[in-house]
Symmetry: none
Subunit: 237 residues, 4 copies
Amino acid sequence: MISHVKSKVEVPELIERRRAQFIDAAITLFGKQGYHVTTIREIAEAAGVSIGLIYQYVQDKEDILYLALISVLDAYEREIPAALDGLSDPLERLSAAVHAYCHVIAANVNGTVLAYRETKSLRKERRALIQEKELKTNALVAACIVECVDAGLFDADIDVELLTYQIVMFSHAWALKAWRFRTMMNVDEYVDRGLKLMLHAVLSTRGKRTFARRAANAPSPVARPKNLPEPSLLKPC
Amino acid sequence: MISHVKSKVEVPELIERRRAQFIDAAITLFGKQGYHVTTIREIAEAAGVSIGLIYQYVQDKEDILYLALISVLDAYEREIPAALDGLSDPLERLSAAVHAYCHVIAANVNGTVLAYRETKSLRKERRALIQEKELKTNALVAACIVECVDAGLFDADIDVELLTYQIVMFSHAWALKAWRFRTMMNVDEYVDRGLKLMLHAVLSTRGKRTFARRAANAPSPVARPKNLPEPSLLKPC
Amino acid sequence: MISHVKSKVEVPELIERRRAQFIDAAITLFGKQGYHVTTIREIAEAAGVSIGLIYQYVQDKEDILYLALISVLDAYEREIPAALDGLSDPLERLSAAVHAYCHVIAANVNGTVLAYRETKSLRKERRALIQEKELKTNALVAACIVECVDAGLFDADIDVELLTYQIVMFSHAWALKAWRFRTMMNVDEYVDRGLKLMLHAVLSTRGKRTFARRAANAPSPVARPKNLPEPSLLKPC
Amino acid sequence: MISHVKSKVEVPELIERRRAQFIDAAITLFGKQGYHVTTIREIAEAAGVSIGLIYQYVQDKEDILYLALISVLDAYEREIPAALDGLSDPLERLSAAVHAYCHVIAANVNGTVLAYRETKSLRKERRALIQEKELKTNALVAACIVECVDAGLFDADIDVELLTYQIVMFSHAWALKAWRFRTMMNVDEYVDRGLKLMLHAVLSTRGKRTFARRAANAPSPVARPKNLPEPSLLKPC
DNA sequence: GATGAATGAGCGTTCATTCAT
DNA sequence: GATGAATGAACGCTCATTCAT
């Protein structure tokens, strides 16, 4: 998505390619050092382009941050539906969604931390766009929950809103508290323990039976989303 | 606490008073605009002191950030035990702890957001000190959970570690997602709904009975911690 | 010479040209006002460049001082051998060396005074490099003296070490005591009177005869080094 | 001497005592680090007084430099005549004067270097006063030379002006080139070698005989001036 | 389309000086 | 007489941005 960021170059494929080149560098640098501390010079160097080139595809530094955040949130919106593809059991779908969410985050700790640290560095109007994108991701999770309720697997009166946020925060926490969790377990354990804790709160009697059966069969039945890089080896904090 | 921040002035009461004066200003400004965007000039102006005075009590800008973060985390460590004072029922104590936690956070949204955004801006050694302080607050919550388990109010096999983080993230979320929650409910509703959701996951049969009885009697039985300013009216995002 | 001073620009000719531009301005300003009193803004203005440009070619203010001092000492090392070129009579060579030395100094009173005032403002390691360069210049003078001894023009047992320093200090004195000497004579008279005084101490009987003959023929037989600007008209003190 | 430096305190003995207290500290600090790099705070600390106290006895920082320089030059003017006291032989008096001069300088390398580095940091009118004081010291040496000429010990046509400066520069060189000479010899050797070199230039036939006889009898016949501290152990450069 | 040398506003920080105590 | 907390002008330096090549 190019969304409102003006470019002096007009060839769309070039825009795509060049931007990807330095936005990736920017996400890493912003995530590790912070937005304000990172200089355009550093981004240009890390991306192997000149300072001038960046300014051909972007109007100012904030544009880079905006594109970086968009790119991170896009990954969420892309990976979660992909992980649900082909699954029909509501409980399985929710579980797959959370696994997918946590894995994308694990693969991009820097990006997730960046979203928390620097969304506020955008001007108001863009901050709102980012928050909308976040709500869209939330909606993906919420939909899975509603499916479970509709299927009678969750109690009918559960607090969907809060449960959604609970799951979202749980996923983000893998990045935000990476300094803690990384030393204690891997992502899959984390998700399994998390789901067990969070879902026992809401499973109906029938749901509990289904959940227990699934857990007995396969400890982590949801395939790891493909095409994701291994969790970055960069120090997360 | 003066903790490792050197001052040219040596009178302790003066250090306390002056630092409080500009650290308060700094927390607000850092929280609203971010650490790097906020200038010393702005802090001095907001605190009603001269630039030079700040540098009598602090060695550089990072010291200000450090003191600001310490001050925020100290508030957590102070308020939670205070809220538990005099209570003996384990469930009541846990509930009181979460209410207190969320209220301190609500009273200092800026500070909490600051901790998330800018802890990384500290040098490594100080970052570690801040994280230690965070773990201490977590331990306060974890202790309440363990009490509930020991009293047979929670299932014996619950995941204390993750439940603690769940509660912590839930409390932080009031600040981190303030842009969302503020439009939907107030803190007390938020805590009540959250506790209901999170605790149903772990309450034993007896615990469920106790919890239900308590909820029926008083919607928010835990007194609001005294001496806390009203939730700041500053726009949180 | 670029010697250990890092530059953000990498084109050597550009480095040479730009540095010359502001180092010249710096020598004048440092020499007149002192290193610490002179601001980067002043240097930039005097050199007709922007502040930022200076920092493209230099890492900090001390680099400017270092380059300035190197440039002054380089002039000595360049001019003295040039003045000796083509001369073979030992006495004539020594005389030419002293004339050349004093003329470079006269052409750069500011620079010489600067070396005395501000070498200590360099960090230790660089101060040592500057002192080494000074010793090299001294060695040029000492060599001329040794030639005279070897030719039997000076007494065999003279104190070469001290005589060298005497000549060096004599030359520097033209700059250091400019406030005094400028009102009394010009450089050439100064050198002639100085040589007469200093050499009578050491000339052998044969040497005295040679020296007297030379002095009678031409008051200042050594051509003024070419390509040197006229002694600066700036007030030396 | 209080000379033109205003004091808020009016009791003369107090002025004398307090000023001595911080001027001594200032000479050391200025000499070691330079005038501009040294802060009033440092001087106050080194002298064991408060910042405010200094400003009771001095109007600004330049006053301190002025008083420091005066104090250094006063020592020269005091020590040289004292060393001549009781001596009547012209050659002995000159020798004693040079020994005394070099010893005062050796005892106060910092102060001598300071005079070279920072006289220019004074405003014009005060710089002139300092230079006058320097000329007075020169006159002490010149007088000894003239005595030698009048006694027929020196050639009648010698260049008194330049010889004086030669001796003065020679003495100063012990401080200015301390980094070199300190490793090679002690002050007394330095003076002996220097006198031998410089005087052979000017001694008449009779003078040479006298000088040779004196040198044979006692290598360093001139008593070391009393009441001088041992040469400072501070690193001179 | 791509480069990177050049600009200068604006930052963090210092320190001589003042003045209430 | 003595103190040292408070002030703020002014410094060195950075870095987003431009534009000639």
